[in-house]
Amino acid sequence: MFVHRTIDGNEIYYRTEWVITDNYAPDKPHVYAPDTPLSAFWHNLTLEELWARFRSRRDRIDDVLVPYDTTPGHPGISDVTSFRQLYNCVVVAYESAGWTVNLPHVVVP
């Protein structure tokens, strides 16, 4: 059973950063530039540790499960080499769980 809820892409950005850094600060500039490589993440996280952090913090990311292995149409953490790819994994995981992810804003009169 899919839920139909909406989340802003920017909120996913901040939550993904929080999983890595333990610091949630949506009123501050983002910590990681999109092309930050995995090697530059805090705590020198391995891919397995990164995935474990997502699993242990599921209650703070709406019970969305980010997969470890990549399957067609569902990128997993095992292939992540940059923050951009990690963000994409989380966005697709949200969408797979029935969420609508809002993308950048423009003025709509």
Partner: protein, 392 residues
């Protein structure tokens, strides 16, 4: 024949290697039809854009978290740096001209032109000019109802563009202006003529000033409009001038909104305060009296767009239900004015429920309910109306 079979086998092997299963459809499928060459190229482009949507959004979030309102050259610098390329030299000095291209508006009234912001207004949100014609064979009467305004944006300087020329990090007021002549026709005309016939035809021009980052509101518009008013027969002679003020604050959906409207309803409201000085020398087919009118008041309008498309917030969005998204709308309008010359007040309400006939929003059909007194004609009405609307 053998060559074709061999080629198909190679394609099947190659696609299988990429995790796809390949099989030519035995019969055309209405939901998944074979594509023409042009459609294949378009589909590939659309698919790449959809795949890249997350990529673009991440850059947007990161850049705007560092610089809330980056200039064009700052965006170029960021993107080109990420791509390992020097930024284009033409953009480094910012825009050289902020003049907007001329545009012809075909709308319901002045408020429906959305501050003459030609490039930012989705047509599906506009009400449009409406024409209704009734031929009553039983009573041998013909009725024509017209509510429309043609306005030509002849000259306009964009305030947001002027603001982008400022030094990065500074927020100072930026100014824009617009000059737009118009013809505005509102009224009902019967053949043979009835006592209830009332119509007005205005011609004039709008002088609009836009103040961005100014006091009170982030964005506001001041409009001065001298006009000449008559009726459809040219009998009335009325001269007037209006001064109006319209604020915009996207945070409270005033004059528009930012961001995705969600899957079910997008809404925003408009507020316009107005002073209208009118001198009537010949009454004609209006309900006005000879003399002066000093109207003070304003208009509040609320717009609802049901099942809005996400295309405004996602440029790569492909609608799964084009017959439903951006089609249904509702407008509620309340006008209230007080005439200082004789201490009379008038109120006018209109409710409208409509359906956009085309995906570009250029035509629609709607049901309207009008109740109250119009200050430009002083005729009281209470009626339902089915109308075809055109927009540009």
């Amino acid at each position: 024949m053998r060559t074709e079979a061999f080629g198909s086998a190679i394609v099947a092997v190659l696609l299988a290697g990429h995790g796809f299963s390949y099989a030519a459809p035995a019969t055309p499928n209405a939901n998944d039809p074979p594509l023409t060459d042009a459609q294949i190229a378009q589909r590939i482009q659309d698919d790449y854009r959809a795949i890249d949507a997350n990529k673009y959004s991440l850059d947007y979030y990161y850049l705007t978290s560092l610089i809330p309102h980056p200039t064009r050259s700052q965006v170029d610098k960021y993107i080109y740096k990420n791509a390992g390329l020097p930024p284009p030299t033409t953009a480094s000095n910012g825009p050289t001209s902020c003049y907007l291209p001329p545009h012809l508006f075909i709308r319901r009234d002045r408020l429906d032109t959305f501050q003459l912001r030609a490039q930012n207004v989705p047509l599906s949100n506009a009400k449009g000019a409406s024409i209704s014609f009734t031929d009553d064979l039983r009573t041998s009467t013909e009725t024509l109802v017209v509510n429309g305004r043609a306005e030509y944006l002849l000259l306009a300087d964009d305030a947001a563009c002027e603001g982008s020329k400022q030094t990065a990090g500074t927020i100072r007021p930026a100014y824009g202006f617009a000059f737009a002549p118009f013809v505005d026709a509102q009224g009902t005309i019967n053949t043979p003529a009835k006592k209830s016939d009332v119509h007005n035809l205005q011609a004039g021009f709008d002088l609009q000033m836009n103040i961005l980052n100014g006091p009170l509101f982030d964005d506001q518009y001041l409009v001065l409009t001298p006009y000449y008013q008559t009726d459809f027969d040219g009998a009335a002679q009325i001269q007037g001038i209006t001064a109006s003020w319209e604020p915009v604050n996207e945070d409270i959906h005033l004059g528009g909104y930012s961001g995705s409207p969600g899957p079910y309803v997008g809404w925003y409201w408009q507020l316009q305060t107005q002073f209208d000085e009118k001198r009537v020398t010949t009454v004609g087919f209006t309900g006005l009296h000879k003399g002066n009118y000093d109207w003070f008041g304003g208009t509040i309008q609320v717009h609802f767009n049901f099942f809005p498309s996400q295309s405004a917030s996602n440029p790569f969005y492909v609608s799964p239900n084009p017959w439903l998204e951006d089609r249904f709308y509702m407008n509620l309008t309340l006008k209230s004015f007080w005439n200082a010359a004789n201490d009379r007040s008038v109120t006018w309400f209109e409710g409208e429920l409509g359906y956009n006939l085309t995906t570009d929003g250029k035509s629609s059909v709607s049901v309207k309910y009008d109740l109250g007194t119009d200050k430009d004609t002083l005729i009281t009405s209470k009626k339902y109306l089915l109308a075809i609307n055109f927009k540009n």
